[in-house]
Symmetry: D2
Subunit: 318 residues, 4 copies
Amino acid sequence: MEDKNQFFSYEMDTDLALEAGECLTKSGRRAEGVAFEEEEAEGGMIHITKVTIRDQEGAKLMGKPMGQYITLESALMREENGMELCAHALAGYIRQLLPSQWKTVLAVGLGNRELTVDSLGPRVIDNLFMTHHREGEGLCGLAPGVMAQTGMETADIVKGVAGQTKPDVVIAVDALAARSASRLGTTIQLTDTGITPGSGVGNHRNSLTKESLGIPVIAIGVPMVIKAVNIAYDTLHAVLKVLNTEKAFEGACDAIRTFSPQEAHGLVEELLQPSLGDLCVTPKDIDELVYVMGKAVAEAINETIHHREIPGTRESRS
Amino acid sequence: MEDKNQFFSYEMDTDLALEAGECLTKSGRRAEGVAFEEEEAEGGMIHITKVTIRDQEGAKLMGKPMGQYITLESALMREENGMELCAHALAGYIRQLLPSQWKTVLAVGLGNRELTVDSLGPRVIDNLFMTHHREGEGLCGLAPGVMAQTGMETADIVKGVAGQTKPDVVIAVDALAARSASRLGTTIQLTDTGITPGSGVGNHRNSLTKESLGIPVIAIGVPMVIKAVNIAYDTLHAVLKVLNTEKAFEGACDAIRTFSPQEAHGLVEELLQPSLGDLCVTPKDIDELVYVMGKAVAEAINETIHHREIPGTRESRS
Amino acid sequence: MEDKNQFFSYEMDTDLALEAGECLTKSGRRAEGVAFEEEEAEGGMIHITKVTIRDQEGAKLMGKPMGQYITLESALMREENGMELCAHALAGYIRQLLPSQWKTVLAVGLGNRELTVDSLGPRVIDNLFMTHHREGEGLCGLAPGVMAQTGMETADIVKGVAGQTKPDVVIAVDALAARSASRLGTTIQLTDTGITPGSGVGNHRNSLTKESLGIPVIAIGVPMVIKAVNIAYDTLHAVLKVLNTEKAFEGACDAIRTFSPQEAHGLVEELLQPSLGDLCVTPKDIDELVYVMGKAVAEAINETIHHREIPGTRESRS
Amino acid sequence: MEDKNQFFSYEMDTDLALEAGECLTKSGRRAEGVAFEEEEAEGGMIHITKVTIRDQEGAKLMGKPMGQYITLESALMREENGMELCAHALAGYIRQLLPSQWKTVLAVGLGNRELTVDSLGPRVIDNLFMTHHREGEGLCGLAPGVMAQTGMETADIVKGVAGQTKPDVVIAVDALAARSASRLGTTIQLTDTGITPGSGVGNHRNSLTKESLGIPVIAIGVPMVIKAVNIAYDTLHAVLKVLNTEKAFEGACDAIRTFSPQEAHGLVEELLQPSLGDLCVTPKDIDELVYVMGKAVAEAINETIHHREIPGTRESRS
């Protein structure tokens, strides 16, 4: 059944490996190079999914480079005192991705401080406790700004600064675009693959990867928006699905069944894309969300870097 | 054909009388109590639509109180130097709605300064040039904040302040929710009906009307968001329309034609509403949009109030 | 010796009753209508001075209306985790000044949100937890802005709002000007006399008092600036004092002794006042100071209002 | 007369070469290596002083490196529409200091975005129109943040970025500390000597000079604060001067004349320094001042870089 196995390519248009993986699974494709593993923390209140892309075929299917993607999901992130628990859990996973030996960590807050939806990176930097200038090692970091603000490729700025400071690892923080509205304010992604072009809320970023910088790059991303056009795709998808399955529409659906995903997709593209292209979907209280998430990610990095002597705190909790 | 004449009630879920009017027209309903008038300004660069709701039946059909609604539409609002022209045109229309005799005007900036999408009102107040404290008449104003910030009904605060300052007219400024994405950054609505409950980006506001305050209330509103669920409705609408008209799908569409608007609407409601309810759709550069629109509306009010001795500037331009 | 007993009137140019009292004492004047009482909290870490002005003569000498002035001083306010203790102690004293029976409290944040040195009041309001809109009683509040922003007397706005909301007591928060640099970031004043014209960082405020509003007004003030001209006075004062007492200058000082305080004061006035009049002296990190103090005062009010059922918490600690 | 020629070393504690020069002149010292030149622009409304330090002796006397210092002074900077004229004049002088051939300019905004008094540099960067990312040459820039924010020497960040971007010249912008209150909001300094350690509102910065970076560094500085202790020195100075010259005090002043500058200085140091050390003196509306000056300096740089094809505009106006 060709139709059933096909999946919409737009569904892969997400910065979350978790969502790309779900889409892959749903499509029924075999993907031997992609492994999924799940675990829980804080007594089941935080759900962790580890997606590992092991080979080039998996990378192609997933639309993401080979490596490990750890996603923390929790309703706690929306609760007043839940954020601390999430930050602590995140710290444990950052520690897993750090090289076994390191002296200096360079944190990079990507994005545009002036656009709320894209300001997560700079706000994380604002909340980090830097120590490198005093101790000659430890944490240092900067929020380089975006290309329109600096006139320079962000990757060039980071490369230059890393050349002077010689960090052992870079931690890059960025706002992400997700596919599903339910990700906003509930999800944090961590990966050892660095930052790849085209991801993030802002566009056209260059790579920040081990290949481009010569040192490992851990990326922490938090979904802040979904693209407006995705709402349109989802609507259509939902309707087609209903038409194909619900008994109530059985009679009416012989025709629509001939309406292939590609045709539906093409329609949306033609009809809605132009006016939706520049729009993004956010919670009304995005300002609050950025504030809370910025503090949480910073707390996690601070805990990881400044208490590295304390091993195993996470393991005993997860 | 009942189905064809029916229109979706959700389509009326807009703060813009212009959009409600379009929807009414599209539905084919007769609405003798609703009059439309169009004009241009700045050599056709600004399009003005005046919707007048003359009787209670019109008010019921439109879902808005009786009165005059003037909408300025222009691509100039998105251009660097176009905003001044729009502000000037707006000033002319504010002047039309002002009482013929006035000494003191109280401007009220509704909304929440801390949420970008809802901060238009406070920002307009920030840019007004107040004179009442020096001259005993002229312009005064405040941004009362929203109920969660003050613990008080905004209407009560305005009532109290108006009781002390005794203005002849109130100008209330608010961020609006539109139906169509194309309204964002291109549209300003002006009305002599004041502010009615349920409108605006923030919810559950009380009335600020001539009835509740005892003096005329002019409201200036600027669409800042559309509700995410609207994108879903639009998608469905577009698809149904295509199915009904495009030759390419002719064969496939006999069935879908029996899929009534209500059924489609119900599907969306059931499938997407829960996850989309709290989300809003905005331009990615909403921060910039609020900044530009806040200055423009303030300039228009400043021009209206402080140069009232100069009559007829607008007429010669429109 | 008339000269020695004389004190400089400029020394009384402070918003802190504590400083005015010190100046009075130093001058050797008898002031039977002014009583001083000291106590400690948090194991001596917070020093509290209660100044009570009992009669009109005391009020005239102190340059402040009759009533009670409670000043909390503590180095804790400058320490990372010390602020909570100070907020808790402050809550206890606010409770002492509240009427024994109250249902609704109106908090008023005076000052200009846009000028850092004058933004304490608005920031406190930002951090309050309002309940009046939900419960019909409890806490409500607003930051009315300053006269240049609103075109209205702040007192008129408060009067109007109080007329609608009918609070039992007003708590007004304002940034103060102190005489001594050592007050910045270490001192909070609480008084039952309300706000009197000419006090605060911003000028020309009208009264917010029991007389003007008809209900008790508690004022919480935090010194944020000292006037630049005070530094000049202090210098002169210090030098004259040294000349009069230090042995090293004995020979040289016969002449300067004839240089009376008034003459010295006149000199400063003439030479430095013009260029210093608009300047204020602040810590370089005033932005941080306003942030910390704004949160602390808000915490104290929140604790006072929302946990009023818990009696005696403070007493057991002081 | 040794006493008369002596000048207070603290008087040299200013970031403005103009003030250091005035102090030198007042002291009566010969300084053959320091040349002064004055000119006017905008019909006398802008006063320009060029101080050139030609040799090492001059540098030692002035406490500043050899090079050219151009100071623009104008009351226009405080007027609503005057800033544009000042920005235009400044652009002309920046052009004089630029190398004759350049393709890429790197602008660096020094200082701390979070502290109003130290935020000029970052705000200038916010207002620059960057072109290097599109054209491969032209303007690029960044606000690196201060050491406590980044954990890195600012000079290292700039060095790293310059190593990638290969600019022909750096323009560094910084907030300065002046000696005299009359400089605040009226003065802009331009120099070809770059940034030297210890200057600026923030402390302990490393060099950004031709020596350290290998390319010319133009520095633009705007006085934003004066140190509080300077007010004390000025008071004493003013009093001593009066005692020495005014007839009224003639009899009393024989003694004080023996009170040498050093003794007076020592007194202030001992008595006032401790409590004044961390304080700075600013206009109450420093927030507004930073906003206006940030825009003006950015406009000047934008004009210089982006309209370089238009020669001689300034000359025809000055």
